[in-house]
Symmetry: C2
Subunit: 263 residues, 2 copies
């Protein structure tokens, strides 16, 4: 990525919030929902955002002339400035949407009272470290667990499962995790596919018995777990159907090679 | 601070390491020790630093013409670039060195297996959130505890205590905390003041009974705890002596007003 930003030194300390939005031919997908979450995250950091109309105008200007079928729009707000960037969907995201991921589960530690785990913050070093930890163990991504063994989320994604006709995810407020934008839309449209949307806690032991497991995020859409903790899983026939429900079909994106991007 | 840096968007995600060095008339204080720690932190992030000679040359160039009696040198390394900045010591650091701090203790949560708590990383949003949490409770800074009640460190500083002739700090490897550069020097020179340097774990209950408590960091030097969890403490006669031992005397720095700086 050759885009350059001019920032102050203080902006390099991860003290801000961001959103990654899937950019489609008809514009940024779920932009309103992402801006709602940006405002929620900013509140948790006591960070003042520019007026919403100004954010929307900056987004509009940034996506004008967007040439591809899909892209990545990032809205980044530090305490000093807003930066809006448009780039390619990372190659790894497109690959994981197509081929699935090897998932490893691990206890996430216990959050401190001032934890920002429910906010989408720029301080991503630990998320990246968690991913490296997973890769060192032969996995592609991670599923965080509570000390009691309940599933939470991935470092950059929400958990989704299918069990019978139950299309489930973890309730963000109860679990103190980030409310997923992609998964919220998926559960909203589940009924049209004859599925029953459910928000509840689920243990890793129960999760091993369900019919399908995915990580949901804006750029990957849905990445199916093709193994969990080294145990292979059959691929679900629902993966292409759910991706189609969300509009991740016939997308030929910008080619991309940046190896590491915030999700 | 008006200094501007040119960065890539990926550099805003806190995925890097840094050092803050106290800049004195005779140059950056404890520069070698800070560069050692920078290399150690980078190793924990699997981040490749520029060659040490290149870092030293950039530092040399940055501090040339430094006009004040004291300043703040920051060496910031993301995965893409190194940024070296020179600025004022924040006014709050000078004030806390002089007037002390109201300290509040709180359990730090339990670290995940991929925790970077022993590295000085750019992802500082949670450290700033911890400080806001402390300030909302009438304190200036925080002392993190283990679930068992052992003292660890502050969000941007090491713990130091004086008990009789014992000048103590927490052993960084055993506690999985950042090895403090300022406190290491303090313990090295303790003998010259007739004090006995000790590295050991200490509970918050025992800590309440000691003769003096400080947070040590590069810019503040030593900030004495004038209260702990709301209980006032008498000021120690050792505070000016220890500051003098470390060379924090007769410093008239650049005036500064930036309200929030990484420590």
């Amino acid at each position: 990525m050759t885009e350059r930003l001019v920032v102050s030194p203080a902006e390099l300390f991860g003290d801000g919030v961001f959103e990654t939005v899937h950019l489609r031919p008809d514009g940024p997908w779920l932009l309103d929902e992402h801006l709602d979450r940006l405002a929620r995250s900013a509140g948790m950091l006591e960070l003042t955002l520019p007026p919403r109309t100004e954010i929307a105008e900056r987004v509009s200007a940034a996506v004008t002339g967007f040439p591809g079928a899909e892209g990545a729009l990032r809205i980044i707000c530090t305490r000093e400035a807003m930066h809006v960037t448009v780039g390619a969907v990372p190659a790894a995201a497109v690959r994981e949407r197509r081929d699935g991921i090897r998932l490893i589960s691990a206890e996430a530690g216990r959050p401190a009272p001032w934890s920002l785990s429910g906010a989408k913050i720029l301080s991503y070093a630990t998320n990246f470290a968690a991913r490296r930890w997973a890769r060192d163990r032969g996995a592609d991504d991670l599923l965080w667990l509570t000390p009691e063994g309940y599933a939470l989320e991935g470092p950059t994604a929400s958990l989704v499962w299918l069990a019978g006709d139950e299309l489930g995810t973890v309730p963000p407020d109860e679990a103190a995790i980030l409310p997923g934008t992609t998964v919220a839309r998926l559960l909203d449209v589940a009924g049209s596919a004859g599925l029953r949307p459910v928000r509840r806690m689920i243990t890793i032991d129960e999760l091993r018995t369900v019919d399908g497991i995915w990580l949901a995020s804006a750029l990957r859409g849905l990445a199916e777990a093709i193994s969990v903790d080294g145990q292979p899983r059959d691929r679900s026939a629902w993966t292409p159907r759910l991706l189609a429900l969300l509009g991740y079909v016939d997308l030929r994106g910008w080619s991309a090679a940046d190896p590491q991007q915030a999700g």
